[in-house]
Symmetry: C2
Subunit: 335 residues, 2 copies
Amino acid sequence: MHYGIGPIGAGLVKYVLQKEGIKIVGAVDVDKNKVGKDLGELAVGKSIGVKITDDAKGLLRRAKPDIVLHSTGSYLREVKPQLFQIMDAGADLISTCEELSYPFLKHPDIAKELDRRARKKGVTILGTGVNPGFVMDTLAITATGVCQDVKKVSSFRIQDASVRRLPFQKKIGAGLTLDEFKRKVAEGTIRHVGFAESIAMIASALGWKLDQIEESVEPKIAEKPVASEHINVEAGQAAGVDQNAWGIMNGEKVITLNLQAYLGCPEPKELTIIDGNPPIELAIKGGVHGDIATSAVVVNCIPRVINAQPGLSTMKDLPVPSAWFGDSSQFIKKR
Amino acid sequence: MHYGIGPIGAGLVKYVLQKEGIKIVGAVDVDKNKVGKDLGELAVGKSIGVKITDDAKGLLRRAKPDIVLHSTGSYLREVKPQLFQIMDAGADLISTCEELSYPFLKHPDIAKELDRRARKKGVTILGTGVNPGFVMDTLAITATGVCQDVKKVSSFRIQDASVRRLPFQKKIGAGLTLDEFKRKVAEGTIRHVGFAESIAMIASALGWKLDQIEESVEPKIAEKPVASEHINVEAGQAAGVDQNAWGIMNGEKVITLNLQAYLGCPEPKELTIIDGNPPIELAIKGGVHGDIATSAVVVNCIPRVINAQPGLSTMKDLPVPSAWFGDSSQFIKKR
C-alpha cells in the first residue's frame, strides 16, 4: 500500500509497478485533487484500477497490506500518528521520512515508542532513501568495514541541480538573492533534512560517542549567470545550497558531511573519505540520481524489511542493500 | 581462539590485540616451528602468554571459545574437518577460506552439511576477507542498492604488487618467464581463489540465474624492466597476473570480475561499474590494502557473527559491514 503520493511517493509507485510479485492493494493521499483518481494515472499516466483515498484507516482495515510505503513528510513529530496507524494495522513499513532514518538522537522518546509498538505488533519499521539512507551514511559505514582504524569520516555530495525537478531547484534556493536565501534558511525552508541522522548513524556504527552535532547552511553563489530549464540565476545570486554538518568528539570534527547542490555544478559526484588505516577514498563519478535512487532504495529494501525481526530498524541493522529482480517471493525467508 | 597462524592468521592476531573486549583464549597451528611458541611473539614480537598448540580438539574443549578465527586454507574440502571440529565445540566461526565465502555454487552438498550442523549446534559460520568478502562482491552488491535496473555488474581490482609481501609477489608470478607462468597456471598455483564465489554471491543477491561461470588467468607482461624490493622482472617476463571471470546469463557476460596484480602498476584502484538505472561508477583511489583489509573485515565482523541467527551465513546476509571501536560488548545484542 502506498501512503503519500507526492513526487517521491509517485516515484515509488512507478518502480513498484516494474517489480514482479508485488500487488498494490491501495493508495492514500489527503490532497483533494488526488482523492478518487487512479493511482496509475497519477504516477505513470496509465490506469491500474487502484483509486486514491483519504481514508487511511478504512483502507488499512480493508486492504490488509503486508507492507506500506510511506512518504508524507520529513519530520517525525508530524508523521508519527500515521506511522502508529500503519503499525496498528499489522503492516511492515518503510518511510522516506528523513528523521525516521535514525531517530534515536533527536527523538529518543518517539524512537522508543515506535520500537515498542512495532515489537508488540510484530512489524518492522524502517526510514530510508538515497540520503539519508545510503550515500552519506550506509555507504560510508560500509567503507569503514575494511578499516582497522578510523580517525575521521567525511562524505561530500556534489550535485548538479540543473537536471532535477523544479521543486528540488526551488528547495535549494536557486535564483534567490542572498537576502532571500538567508530568510529562507532562517524559516527552515532551505535545508536538507537528515544530516544529524546520518551523522548519528555513522557514530553509532563506529561506537563513537559524539559531544554534539553542528550544522550550517550557506548559499552557493553564482560567479556567472547560470540557468536550468526552469530558473535563471544571475551572477551574485544563489545558484543553490552549500550545507555542512559536523559530528564533534573531544572537540574535534570527526564526521563531516557536505552537500552542495546547485545549478551549473561542473563535476557532480559522491565522495566518501575515511581517514584511517587503510585510508579510503571512494568516489561515485557523476553522483547518484536522487529521485531514481530513493525509489530504488525503498523498494529494494522491501524483502529485507519483511524478513527482519520486528522493531524499529535502521539501514545499518539490515543486511547489505541490493537490487533484486524476478519474483519478490524468492527473496522472502520462509518462517 | 585463533586457528591457523600463517601471514593472514598473524594479521588477525595483530588486529585483535588492538581491540577492547576480546580475550584470546588459545591458538592452533600444525607447523612444528610454531607449536609451543608464544602467539604474541610470533604475531607482533611481544609475548601475550598464549602458547600455540597443534591439539585443536583439546584446546577447543579446554578453552571453550565464543568464536574462532580460522585461516588455514583456500579450499573448502581441505578445511571442512576443521570447520566441523570448531562447530562441534559450540563456537561461532569466521574463516578466510575463500571457498567458504559463498559455497553454494561449487560445493552445494558441503554448504548444506555446514548449514545443518551450524543450526544444530546453534552457531554461526561465515567466510570473508577483503576479496572474496568485500571489494568485488559485497561492495558491488551494495552499489546496486540504489539501482532500479541492473544490466551488468563489473568489478576491477587493479593492484600494485610492489608494496605487498614476497609470498604475494610470488603467488602472482612476478618475475617468471611466460612458459613458467603458463606451467604454474596449469598447476593451479597462480590463481586468485574466490572469483566464482564472488560472482555467485552477486548473482544470488540480484536473483540472476547464471548459465555458467568462466575464468581465465593470463600473465601481465612487463613492457620494460620493473622491480620490487624482492624481485627483478625483465621486459617480456610476467610482472604479475591478469585474471578474469565472467558470470554468463542467456549467453551474455552479465558479471565481469578482473584482477590485475603486478609490479609497477601505475594507478592502483578498485572500480565497480553498474550498467543500470541509474548507472554507477564507483572507484576507490589507490585501492584497498589487501592484508590490512582482510584482518579488518574478519575482526570487524565478529559482533555481527555473534549476533546472527545460527547457520551458514554470507556477507550479503549480514548487516552492512562496519569498523567498530571501544568495548566489543556494546555491539553484542542481548538475548
